[in-house]
């Protein structure tokens, strides 16, 4: 028990929690925007892979770190557009289209990586984002290491929470976006384009998801590996239900997940001799399932989620 308390009180634990939460923050926000507009985006897992691969590849080819971030976002937006075309004007199954996008985006990424680097034994490394190390602030006790020694992408993720919250709750775009996911007919009656709102939301959401992937290769690690996304996208889909489609709760959910993941890694090293390590590795996925089961009862799904809408048909 003392051990767990010691872990929970340490700065490095909370710094790690925020670091682990960062890609999930991007992912949950992206999924939240899509679903608020009425479209489930199961392409998320593949879009994470594309973001991770494109961001890394761009930097490796000399685009610079922020150039890599931009290219990752554009690549995510491209696959988002594909999902948007299939699910919005064509109104095809959001489940199947999303899984198709995941398979397609993943195989495009893997094929491109293998084609660009046919015979490498160890993946080439890039110089990733470094901790910001803000003067004075990063020397603060506790908050210094936890908040002010993170990389720029973590700060970008936190800024995105604020931005998405603002757009959703304080702007007319947010009102329209939520309406299009609840009652597209009313949006159409207002003279707004249901198609444009939904497609725009999917493209923007997918760009955010790709940033989650880019964080993995450009901040958490410094190289691209096959299988590195490892279900993070699916975890985001569970967390967005847990967060009841609210940006603030999305941040909270991602942080809780990050804290839990950081805790299991530390417990694994402390208790590794007593219990097989895999018990701890399983825990985050099981936690996501439990969170989903708890949240599902009271989940207030966007009412038009999964329902395609065609102009002129009621």
């Amino acid at each position: 028990m003392m051990d767990i308390l010691n872990i929970l009180l340490s700065e490095s634990f909370w710094a790690a929690s925020l670091r682990i939460a960062t890609p999930l923050i991007f992912g949950v926000l992206g999924a939240l925007i899509c679903e608020r507009a009425g479209v489930l985006n199961l392409g998320i897992e593949g879009i994470f892979v594309v973001g991770a691969m494109c961001g890394w590849m761009a930097v490796w080819l000399g685009a610079g770190l922020w150039g890599g971030v931009l290219i990752a976002a554009l690549a995510g937006a491209f696959f988002g557009l594909l999902h948007a075309i299939l699910t919005v004007p064509l109104g095809l199954s959001q489940h199947v289209s999303g899984l198709g996008i995941t398979l397609f985006a993943t195989s495009v990424s893997y094929f491109s990586y293998r084609t660009a680097l046919p015979n490498v034994s160890s993946p080439p490394r890039i110089e990733p984002f470094q901790p910001l190390d803000v003067p004075i602030l990063s020397d603060l006790p506790f908050f210094g290491p936890v908040l002010f020694q993170q990389t720029a992408l973590t700060w970008l993720a936190l800024a995105m929470v604020a931005l998405v919250w603002y757009v959703m709750n304080r702007s007319s775009l947010g009102v329209a976006l939520k309406a299009v996911g609840d009652n597209p007919d009313s949006v159409d009656a207002q003279g707004l384009s249901v198609y444009a709102l939904r497609m725009g939301a999917i493209v923007a959401g997918s760009a955010l998801m790709a940033l989650g992937g880019a964080f993995l290769t450009m901040s958490a690690f410094d190289a691209f590996f096959f299988g590195m996304v490892n279900g993070r996208g699916w975890v985001c889909i569970a967390l967005v239900i847990f967060a009841s489609w609210r940006p603030g709760k999305a941040l909270l959910g991602a942080l809780l997940f990050g804290a839990f993941d950081a805790l299991q890694v530390r417990l694994q090293t402390e208790m590794g001799a007593l219990v097989p390590g895999q018990i701890f590795l399983m825990a985050p996925y099981i936690l996501s399932i439990i969170a989903l089961v708890i949240a599902a009862r009271s989940a207030d799904y966007p009412r038009a989620l999964l329902t395609p809408w065609f102009k002129g048909q009621r």
Binding site: H95, R114, P276, Y285
Partner: protein, 357 residues
């Protein structure tokens, strides 16, 4: 203005033609990545065809590859018919494989005639249990089965690693994370001398036949289709929707479990954590290409298996990454989706203002 309206007639020609065209289109589109990789597409297609149909060995390899895909394709097709989104076939496959080696690698020294059916039944039961859990979470708590089955895939894979380093580890295996081999008499017999194709294929074909018959002709199949088309109406008509969902969940999970049994007890002989290169996920593509028809699943599995075996052989001959196969598979899924739209709707050009008539 453009207007979309449903076609009144759904013709049989579309049902067969669209998937075939989609598959061909996806193969043709593969020329783009082939060119980008610096390969001559014509030569590459030639190598692929040679790799699949060039010899008896090649055909045997293709059939071997198709066997697990028929099982996972059926698993997805039946579940999707009831709108039960089982994306967990990958995990259920490993549950079936674990049951097969747990029972088949020496715990019970039974004669083959008893051991093989036991392995098959327990493997299917393990897979079925793997799908019963998320179905329970869905019907009892309303937890979306897409997410739970996807996440359970990761849980089961980690559980598998734990078992392969623990209770299921081969004591003679020099510490490698692999299981002890299935007893000789527990192995599904091969179909041809010196070839890898095994009688798991026969079981898969029988399963497809039964599934086709049950879906089209039985009361069970009728209820399943009714639940899938409109659960509320089915409930109103007195169908026990929960029971129907559990029924299809158990059969779907069981079929995915059989894919694992057939890979372990038909092909590999022992279990490692890389038994399946994503057969569970590829099964979804098989099912969609098949238009969710069990008979179609067999054809679609043969096609997808040809793509994988052909791409492997082309990759060895020309040095193009074999991830090309995954590209073709994913593109054929997207093509068949769009094709399904073309079959269902027609796009009509109208004059402005008349669109809402």
């Amino acid at each position: 203005m453009i207007r979309i309206e449903p076609r009144n007639t759904s013709s049989r020609a579309y049902a067969v033609g669209i998937p075939v065209l989609s598959a061909c289109l996806a193969l043709a589109l593969a020329a783009i990545p082939l060119l980008l990789a610096g390969a001559n597409p014509i030569t590459a297609y030639g190598e692929m065809i040679k790799g699949v149909f060039g010899s008896v060995f090649a055909i045997s390899e293709m059939l071997t590859r198709a066997t697990p895909l028929i099982f996972t394709g059926l698993a997805a097709a039946l579940a999707f018919r009831a709108k039960l989104w089982n994306i967990g076939a990958e995990g259920q496959l490993y549950l079936g494989a674990m049951a097969a080696v747990a029972i088949g690698s020496g715990v019970l020294d039974l004669p083959g005639l008893a051991l093989i059916p036991l392995i098959i039944i327990l493997g299917a039961a393990a897979g079925a249990a793997g799908m019963a859990v998320p179905t329970f979470l869905k019907t009892r708590f309303g937890a979306d089965e897409v997410v739970t089955t996807l996440l359970l895939n990761f849980v089961i894979l980690i559980f598998l690693q734990m078992m392969l380093e623990g209770p299921l580890q081969d004591p003679m295996g020099l510490g490698w994370p692999q299981s002890a081999p299935v007893l000789d008499q527990g192995m599904l017999p091969p179909l041809m001398e010196r070839m890898r194709v095994h009688s798991g294929l026969i079981i898969a074909l029988i399963a497809a036949g039964i599934a086709q018959f049950m879906l089209a002709r039985s009361v069970w199949g009728f209820k399943l289709r009714a639940v899938g088309e409109n659960a509320a109406a089915a409930r109103h008509a007195g169908i026990n929707v929960k029971r129907s969902l559990f029924g299809v969940a158990i059969i779907s999970g069981g079929l995915a479990g059989l894919a694992g049994v057939s890979e372990v007890a038909g092909l590999k002989g022992y279990l490692t954590a890389d038994l399946s290169p994503g057969f569970g996920y590829t099964g979804i593509v098989v099912a969609m290409l098949a238009g969710l028809s069990p008979a179609g699943v067999v054809i679609a599995a043969l096609f997808i298996a040809s793509v994988f075996v052909g791409a492997d052989s082309m990759s060895r001959a020309m040095g193009v990454s074999s991830f090309l196969a995954d590209l073709v598979v994913s593109m054929s899924l997207l093509c068949v989706l769009v094709g399904g739209f073309v079959a269902k709707y027609r796009i009509i050009r109208t004059n402005r203002g008349q669109a809402t008539s």
